[in-house]
């Protein structure tokens, strides 16, 4: 363990902890932009600079490992002035075209700019540098005018998702985040998981489907229904409609990770074609011969539907034999449910014809 002093407080943390994390452990907040606890430290934005005894210049606390008896000052007039300078520089390259971005009028950059009393109107860029909505990805909205090159998207894609879609191109004032070698996201092997969106601190990457829907009035934490992993997600609800799905670091199973289905596959919730009650063909209820086109659907209760299904399955087994039937179960079921399917196929139906949609 290493003992150090942060703003006069004695803190004890394990070796290789960064000064930023040590400060957090001591309940001290240091402003950050390029840092995220899930991602490899970068030290690019320089917003988190602190004064460390023995160092001539301010040091980036997010990338500085603690050392024994270190003495750190996290805020004073000089550091506040430094942060203001950094924020003004970042804002001078930040252009907001003025569209509704669904983030409630703020983001991490604007939050800190307001915290340090910066005149946003004056500080922000007056001209766009890039085309707004520059990538055809169906789920991810790209507006590089809001990019501050914190590279959280790049590290999220590489460290968290392992897809390596994003990277930096060019140098100096021309540096920009690009997909692949300057291609579209999908051409750069993007799976549209939206991790880059989840980590973006400015809305340069955003959810295309939710863009103009405004801010949510509540968030409902729930579990994804798509597969058995059980990812936790947050339904962002406005006027009783799900307008967006977000992830959160505290989720026990998945953290900030979600797949394309969990994050973007929620359109079924309010879809008019969605089935909410069992339906059967009318001719089956009537016991009449099958009409051409199989006739119309009738809404029934569960018992009726299940009895009918059981009777038809039994009839098939009895007339044509057990192997005339096959069972295909689903990744949307839990392990326990899939186990029961297995029992049902082998013991009730008496066949080995069972498979699963996720068997590759």
């Amino acid at each position: 363990m290493i003992t150090l002093k942060i703003d006069g407080k004695t803190v004890e943390v394990p070796e290789n902890t960064t000064v930023l994390r040590a400060a957090e452990a001591a309940g001290i907040t240091i402003p950050t932009l390029c840092d995220h606890p899930d991602l490899t430290p970068y030290g690019g934005c320089r917003l988190c600079v602190v004064e460390v005894k023995g160092y001539r210049l301010p040091m980036a606390s997010c990338a500085l490992p603690v050392s024994q008896d270190m003495e750190v000052i996290t805020e004073n007039p000089a550091l506040a002035e430094a942060r203001r300078g950094i924020l003004e520089l970042l804002l001078s390259d930040y252009y907001d075209q003025g569209y509704e971005d669904g983030l409630g009028g703020s983001n991490e950059l604007l939050h800190w700019a307001e915290h340090y009393h910066i005149d946003l109107e004056q500080a922000m860029a007056k001209q766009p540098r890039y085309r707004v909505d520059s990538d055809p990805n169906p789920f991810v909205w790209v507006d590089m005018n809001k990019c501050i090159l914190c590279t959280r998207c790049i590290r999220a894609c590489a460290d968290v998702q392992g897809r390596f879609v994003w990277s930096l191109a060019a140098r100096g004032a021309h540096t920009q985040v690009v997909a692949g070698a300057g291609t579209t996201m999908l051409d750069a092997r993007c799976e549209s998981c939206g991790a880059c969106v989840a980590y973006c601190p400015t809305g340069a990457l955003n959810n295309k489907m939710s863009l103009h829907l405004g801010a949510a009035d509540r968030k409902v934490t729930t579990t994804c229904t798509y597969c058995g992993v059980g990812c936790q997600l947050e339904l962002n609800v406005k006027d009783d409609k799900v307008i967006r799905v977000t992830s959160n670091s505290d989720a026990a199973v998945n953290g900030m990770r979600l797949c394309v289905k969990g994050r973007y596959g929620y359109d079924f919730i309010h879809h008019p074609d969605r089935l909410t009650q069992p339906q059967v063909r009318k001719y089956l209820l009537d016991g009449t011969p099958r009409p051409p086109g199989r006739g119309e659907w009738v809404t029934v209760d569960w018992d009726t539907a299940l009895d009918l299904t059981a009777a038809k399955l039994s009839a098939c087994r009895d007339i044509y034999g057990s192997n005339s039937l096959g069972i295909l179960c689903s990744a949307k079921c839990l392990n326990e449910e899939n186990y029961l399917f297995n029992k049902f196929a082998r013991q009730v139906i008496g066949t080995n014809n069972i498979d699963h949609c996720a068997r590759l």
């Binding site: 210049l57 301010p58 001078s92 100096g172």
Partner: protein, 560 residues
């Protein structure tokens, strides 16, 4: 027919010319020297100039003659004839007129420490340059090559090798001047089963090409030096990161590696000992920032050339996380001569605070541009007069920039500062890599600094905010000044940006990109203000109006 003027300056004579010296007849002395020089037909060979504020009141007027760095004083106008005849014509130092070294005080006190021998006899780094076939290992061996390695492997322990370097006082020649022996010792004392030696031959500082000359003329000296470094720190593998444009240097170095391997001087069990060392070439790809050691390491690892956050330093966490020694080409080139002879021998050259020689690259508005090696501690004025054969077209000196684009701007008033690490640091300027850009009176300082910032805004790696955006904003303000579109508060803004770049940047690139801005406002503020307040560029270089803007491509690559 056009008259061809042969310029072959070989000496610089400085006469003290402050009010006290004038009272004691310095003007008459100057006149007498001028007459004598002309009479002996030496006008094309000797530069005569004045120096003020030399201290040593009882020695005035005094005369300093370079390159021997001899001080005579007090000198009577009647002595002019003798000085020109004996010293300048016949090359004999007049012993009885020399000021004893202990009497040198004030601004010229450092001359007491300077070794006075002629530069031709003091080549260390460029000892073999031009004398051997660089593609022949036999030539290298005939001229004492691989003797230092043989001596170290058979007679010295790694600790003794480092000890000898520490005694020599060798400092890193890449720019920062870190004591080489100390750096080797840190890497040697760091535990680790795998260590690396890296030679930084990226040499991307504009106007610097000393490393290229070394690599192209004497590649084996670097092979030998890297093997010595590996032996001293306990490494078995090394990389040399050579600038991509240096094709010839890469070819010759590759040949040198193959020749050394064939003779058992590289590879497994070198010279039959237990020491093994493998050496690889890594070609740069044209990024200025990869000269920064951690960006260079990232680049060798196959990543984007972005400097890492430090600490930890490469000495403990370098290439692939292993302890790594990174040295500049010129630094390494000094190592075999030191080990072949001794650290004490090396200390005889240069100044006590910066021993040895330095290879300078001189370019700009001078008559002769190129590379020259001299003992540490020559002055800028000396470099211009003697080695660069004077200013081009007789124009007046305005400023120099030392150490490439990121170096300090040195005004005429600092021309007599010796160019060694300690003295330049004391004078608030940086020696850097030893590039000397000489600009004459026709150069506009705003235009020069604008060109430099244009370079930096393209060459910043883009990682950290102050460097990436600060260089761009500074460039925009400087452009406005050259267009006559700036207000006086633009200078405050420039200084604020410079301060942010210096204090908050992640690496030396952003920190030093601000140096020319600060120096411009420190030494040439009047000239900058003339642009703003009078709407005039005093040298007539700047357009002072808005020209058609150059179309700048800033479209995202993805929108194709």
């Amino acid at each position: 027919m056009m008259e061809v003027k042969v310029i072959n300056k070989r000496a610089l004579v400085l006469v003290s010319d402050d009010s006290e010296s004038r009272r004691l007849g310095s003007q008459e002395l100057l006149q007498a020297l001028r007459t004598e020089i002309d009479r002996c037909g030496l006008a094309n060979e000797v530069d005569l100039n004045t120096i003020v504020d030399v201290g040593a009141k009882n020695l005035l007027p005094l005369v300093i003659i370079y390159p021997e760095a001899v001080v005579y004083g007090p000198v009577h106008p009647a002595d002019a004839g003798r000085i020109v005849k004996e010293h300048l014509s016949q090359g004999r130092v007049i012993e009885e007129m020399i000021v004893p070294k202990h009497q040198l005080t004030g601004r010229i006190a450092w001359l007491a420490a300077r070794s006075g021998a002629l530069p031709a006899a003091q080549r260390i780094v460029l000892e073999r340059a031009g004398r051997i076939d660089p593609e022949s290992i036999e030539d290298y061996i005939i001229y004492d090559g691989y003797q230092a390695l043989t001596k170290a492997l058979t007679q010295m322990t790694p600790a003794q090798v480092i000890e000898e370097l520490t005694i020599s006082g060798l400092q890193g020649r890449g720019g920062a001047g870190f004591p080489t022996g100390k750096k080797w010792e840190i890497v040697a004392s760091t535990s680790g089963s795998k260590k690396y030696v890296i030679c930084n031959a990226d040499e991307s500082e504009p106007g610097t090409y000393k490393d290229r000359v070394i690599l192209e003329s004497d590649p084996h000296s670097i092979v030998e030096a890297m093997a010595l470094a590996a032996y001293a720190i306990g490494a078995d593998e090394g990389f040399i990161y050579i600038r991509g444009e240096y094709q010839l240097a890469q070819q010759r170095f590759q040949k040198a590696i193959e020749q050394a391997q064939a003779l058992g001087l590289l590879g497994e069990h070198i010279l039959g000992t237990d020491f093994s060392f493998h050496l690889h070439i890594h070609s740069g790809a044209g990024a200025y920032v990869c000269g920064e050691e951690t960006a260079l390491i990232e680049s060798i690892e196959g990543k984007r050339g972005e400097p890492r956050s430090r600490p930890p330093y490469p000495t403990t966490h370098g290439l692939w996380g292993c302890p790594t020694l990174v040295n500049n080409v010129e630094t390494l080139a000094n190592v075999p001569p030191i080990l072949r002879r001794s650290g004490e021998w090396y200390k005889k050259f240069g100044t006590p605070s910066s021993p040895g020689t330095k290879v300078y690259t001189i370019f700009g508005n001078v008559n002769l541009t190129g590379v020259f090696e001299v003992p540490m501690g020559i002055t800028l004025r000396e470099a211009i007069s003697i080695y660069a054969k004077g200013m081009k077209n007789g124009a007046a000196f305005k400023l120099a920039q030392t150490g490439g684009s990121s170096g300090s701007l040195i005004p005429a008033s600092l021309q007599d500062t010796p160019l060694d690490f300690a003295a330049t640091r004391k004078a608030g300027v940086s020696l850097g890599s030893g590039a000397l850009l000489i600009a004459d009176e026709n150069t506009c300082v705003v235009d020069l600094v604008k060109v430099l910032l244009n370079f930096f805004r393209f060459e910043s790696c883009g990682k950290c905010t102050p460097c990436r955006i600060g260089t761009q904003r500074s460039y925009e303000i400087l452009t406005r000044i050259t267009q006559g579109q700036a207000e006086l508060d633009a200078l405050d803004e420039l200084l604020k940006l410079a301060d942010q770049m210096v204090r908050l940047s992640n690496c030396g690139l952003g920190q030093t990109a601000a140096v020319p801005i600060r120096d411009m406002l420190k030494h040439f503020r009047t000239e900058v203000e003339a642009h703003i307040q009078l709407g005039v560029c005093p040298t007539g270089v700047c357009p002072m109006r808005v020209e058609a803007p150059a179309a700048e491509e800033m479209q995202p690559l993805a929108s194709a």
